[in-house]
């Protein structure tokens, strides 16, 4: 259990304190050795785990993306090829551009549809409807299921001959729509399933936000003669700003890591390609193209970084202003 002993060392250095040097030293000595150990473990263990499980693999992927390697043998067997993987992926990998496009559609869809739907449901539920709790639970329930399970459920709905949807539409016996098999529509069919699950999450976040809005604000608005729309858009919604940020972050994460639902449906082929699927296809398997798959992963990482950097930039600018 060396993992437990080693992190005790950085304890003193990593104990954070915004105050001056002297203050920090005095404060550090004020801690009992036992507390120091506990603090060290609490900060050191997660830091080490984070370093080992997040940063090392991430930087490793970036490094390997410049190589051609089948995963067999040691480092000596790795052949370095510079940017060739990237050039090949961008110019001659037929699955790449569709996957990128699908990822962006996925992201846009999740940002718009479940967010709006979730907000609407939250506002409705916030009005103390009768049976509100039941609706709330029912709408949140899909979120409890894993996305893979959601994939199974919706496959039953979308099945061409025996599925619910075609039977309700009355097309099952005549001309069933192949919802998941037709590459022109299956992405949207899957997005409905993914959105179904995500809506509940967004709804809950907004509901929590709405409960925290000071009723006095609404009262004041009403006294000033604002109607319901004006109250919502001018008063309530601006107060919800922190929740918006949470929803945005959660949605971007959900959108970019989407994988399980399409993998369950058809291994992410035939119109359901996503970058995460391409990474998996190339890295896991009988003989892997570690370099190629890593390069794809780096592309996904860069897209994620684009969103994260924008977000952080906004937050910091906000902080500077205040």
């Amino acid at each position: 259990m060396t993992a437990l002993e080693s992190p005790a060392k950085p304890a003193g250095t990593s104990a954070p304190s915004p105050t001056s040097r002297r203050g920090r030293r005095r404060r550090a000595t004020a801690l009992a050795p036992r507390d120091k150990l506990v603090l060290g473990l609490m900060l050191g263990v997660p830091s080490l785990l984070h370093l080992a499980l997040v940063w090392v693999p991430a930087l490793g992927s970036v490094g390997l993306s410049f190589s051609s390697w089948d995963g067999i043998g040691g480092f000596a067997d790795i052949e370095w090829v510079g940017f060739r993987n990237y050039v090949d992926i961008f110019t001659r990998y037929p699955r790449f551009w569709p996957a990128l496009q699908h990822n962006l559609i996925w992201l846009l869809f999740l940002l718009v549809v479940p967010t709006v739907a979730g907000l609407l449901l939250a506002v409705l539920l916030d009005r103390q409807l009768r049976f509100g709790r039941i609706y709330q639970s029912a709408l949140y329930l899909p979120m409890v299921l894993s996305l893979a399970l959601v994939g199974f459920i919706w496959q039953l709905i979308y099945q061409p001959e025996h599925g619910l949807l075609n039977n309700v539409l009355g097309t099952a016996s005549t001309d069933p729509v192949n919802w998941l098999g037709d590459p022109d529509i299956n992405l949207y069919a899957v997005l409905v399933a993914a959105g179904w699950r995500h809506t509940g999450y967004v709804m809950l976040l907004y509901l929590a936000g709405l409960k925290s809005v000071d009723p006095a604000l609404k009262e004041a608005a009403a006294l000033d003669g604002a109607n319901a729309w004006q109250t919502f858009f001018r008063v309530t919604f601006p107060v919800l700003r922190p929740v918006n940020v949470v929803v945005l972050v959660v949605t971007v994460i959900e959108g970019l890591r989407a994988f399980d639902i399409v993998y369950v449906i058809n291994k992410g082929r035939n119109g359901l390609e996503l970058l995460s699927v391409l990474v998996t296809d190339n890295i896991i398997g009988e003989s892997s193209r570690i370099g190629w798959g890593s390069a794809l992963a780096v592309v996904l990482l860069l897209i994620s970084l684009g969103f994260i950097v924008t977000y952080l930039f906004q937050v910091f600018r906000e902080e500077e202003r205040t």
Partner: protein, 432 residues
Amino acid sequence: MTRFSASPHPLLGRRALLKAIVAGAGVAAVPGLAACGSDGGGAATDAVSFGNNQSDQVPKDAITAVLKAFEGESGLKVAINTKQHEQYQEQINNYLQGKPDDVLSWFAGYRMRFFAEKGLTGDLSEVWSKVSGGYEPALKEASTASDGKQYLIPFVQYPWGVFYRKSVWRQRGYEQPKTLDELVALSTRMQADGLVPIAFAQKQGWPGMGTFDQLNFRINGYRFHVDLMAGKEDWQGPKVREVFDTWKRLLPFHQENALGREWQEAAQALQQGKAGMYLLGSFVAQQFKGPDLDDLDFFPYPEINPEHGQDTVEAPIDGFMMSRKPGNPEGARKLLEYLSTPAAQLAYLKADPSQIPTSSKADTSGYTPLQKKSAQVIKDAAHVTQFLDRDTDPRFASDAATNGLNAFLQNPDDLDSILKGMADQAKTIFSE
């Protein structure tokens, strides 16, 4: 945001948290420790470990029975390690580099050679020198890597062909087509009779490869198949083009929406008499029971180019390899020797008579008519191929080939860009 900040929680006290961290660290440390474990240690000399990819109940019981028989005969113990069939294939790379079992299931052809050439599996030429009398030369060739040594003990084999129901054909007066034109004529007739001429499924990604292979070696011959699979021929060239053009001509006779269907469902269409023919491996018989099974028959794919006739048959071979450092090398060799015997192979095939033994010494008197025909078709062939995904680089098969064929089935008119995509990927993969 403040709403989400932590409040003191009864379950998240300092102690509970610490415990959780320790537990978490422990869990995280376990795989790391396991990976550092000693290589190939721990196996006693009276035991052999066996990596099994036959995860379905029936074949699993069959292989277990075979290994039990070996235990009785040799006095060695066999530890069976069964993994889900598809998963086994996906993990083979890591499996072979970790601590593989002494004897393990695998396939002949490029798929075997790839790992043999990387030095991940054991040389079996010594075992082969003892068992070679039981095998035809073609089987030895399929078990040999480029260094001239053998790395696989063949076990069972099954041919690909066009399957049909005798009763349906007799009733309608259909006859086996000998050429492509006859196949087209027959298909047209079936369509007029209200049948789907050719059952087809491509959801799993590989069945369509069988169609491609048949068309390819009927049109361009065995040698071209081998060279194309080895990355030595151009996917954009006129020969491959002709294969796809022929396929395009036949596509209207294939069952629609193949991309959304699994091969078992297509086999059901044949079984129910809704489809007239089905091009697949003889394992299609697994979907037929009792009298239906007796009603099943097949013929080799019709001739397209008279120069090659019907000289090639696709007949994948399943067999066993030895790990590179077996814990019990002597026992592993003994087991492999045993698995090459007709007795072991026939015992296994009792559970799955859709395949045939690879040993030429096997007693054929107990064969079903289908097995007799399978054996005959393979024997008559001048060349035996494995299968697209067993004859080429797995990196090409799993990604470029699967998706290329899918794209073709989705959009047959888009052939130029599809072939360009496949050719480009073949170039990058085979030059790596």
